[in-house]
Symmetry: C2
Subunit: 244 residues, 2 copies
């Protein structure tokens, strides 16, 4: 019985050790001493330098692999080992989306952050969108045009429209953040759309705002596009019932 309680403590110690290892690896990356493609020192050496167990190093590597920061290649020779990896763009969107869904930010904070990023996305899209990017935005716009569109189909079309604008910016960092915030709001927006008294009237007005924003992007008017994007998001925020 006494013996059974001992393992309760082990994960804590191990957890502290692996957190120290994670911090040490991140410090190297932030200082520019470890860059994408660099190998991590061997497990045994890292454990000795950081004065932690090899199990602690292994656990840290697993966590960082799960986040896409490290990648291990098995085998022998120079190709084998654990390397610093470039996170795919999707990883940032995914993490930010999850964070916004979980972190319980006040809804007005999310709306203000979204206004900031959508203004920037709209302006950059108006500046940089080429014919192909404009065609993608236009296609998404049309999907929200049908007068009998359902809340779910409208939400899909709305997401596609805002994602297409973000992707037309030519700025992958602004685009990842903009998309993440729009996607993090899907559950709340869907609930609000389903609960709206005049859903079809609202869909028409939101679609008309999309058309105006699209026109400003087509005419390459960044400041008009930014203003229209902000007006559209604040209008939607007022119209859709606030969630807790």
């Amino acid at each position: 019985m006494v013996y059974e309680r001992i393992p309760d403590w082990a994960p804590v110690a191990r957890s502290r050790a692996h957190e120290l290892v994670i911090q040490a690896i991140e410090d190297q990356i932030m200082a520019g001493a470890l860059v994408v493609g660099d190998p991590l020192p061997p497990e045994r050496e890292l454990a000795a330098r950081l004065e932690v167990s090899r199990a602690g190093v292994r656990e840290a590597v697993r966590v960082l692999e799960g986040q896409g920061v490290l990648r291990s290649r098995v085998g022998s020779g120079a190709d084998a080992g654990t390397f610093v990896a470039a996170l795919p763009d999707g990883a940032l969107t995914r993490f930010l989306r999850l964070h916004v869904a979980l972190a319980n930010f006040p809804f007005s904070d999310v709306v203000d952050a979204r206004v900031t990023l959508e203004r920037s996305s709209a302006a950059l899209a108006a500046r940089n969108a080429d014919a192909a990017a404009i065609a993608v935005i236009g296609e998404a716009l049309q999907r929200g045009a049908a007068s009998d569109v359902s809340p779910d189909a409208f939400n899909d079309a709305d997401t596609a429209f805002h994602v297409a604008i973000a992707e037309a910016t030519g700025n992958r960092l602004v685009s990842s953040m903009t998309i993440a915030i729009r996607e993090s709001l899907t559950a709340r927006i869907l609930t609000a759309l389903h609960g709206h008294a005049d859903w079809t009237g609202l869909a028409k007005r939101l679609h008309a705002q999309h058309e105006e924003l699209f026109d400003a992007i087509v005419r390459h008017e960044p400041e008009v596009a930014a203003e229209l994007a902000e007006h559209h998001i604040r209008f939607a925020d007022q119209e859709l019932p606030r969630m807790a």
Copy 2:
């Protein structure tokens, strides 16, 4: 020898399984079906429902614990098990900082993203900063005032100044993103500062721009503060030698 090669395949299969489990858990969170504090179904049940091994579920849980999305409590009774956790604000800053450091975004993308967020932070700080927040910004400002400040000390003071403005916004989401982007640039900014031909002259001009921005925040002038923030960041970007 042949036997030794067999384990090469195991991690791949396990990795696919655990990625499926991670995706399934994230889908539940994004749909609002799992919220902070909710318990995850028991390991055995989750493995059966998703048709993966219990090892796959365990690995997914470990990865999501490493990201702060899940938290496990040992013991017995209703308190024990694996629960959905609220990510701390620091987790977003940490991930975004790491992502920007690793993702190899064009430098101009990072600068444009930073301008977007620092404009917003400066405007929100000018609107919302109370006396205590203004005192913290003022203290950071003073740290960059000494004429003989070193590049490292100036970088620390500059980071503290921009972090203090972000924290004065009253918007934790905008603030996390702004801080992450400033911190992701530390290594590049330090290298550039050390390599600048007229470092003390540059530090004086950057400090003077900080003073102007601080004054606009103290006078509660959001639009002036946003313009000054953009001017300051674009000036620094032009002055500091571009890194690859």
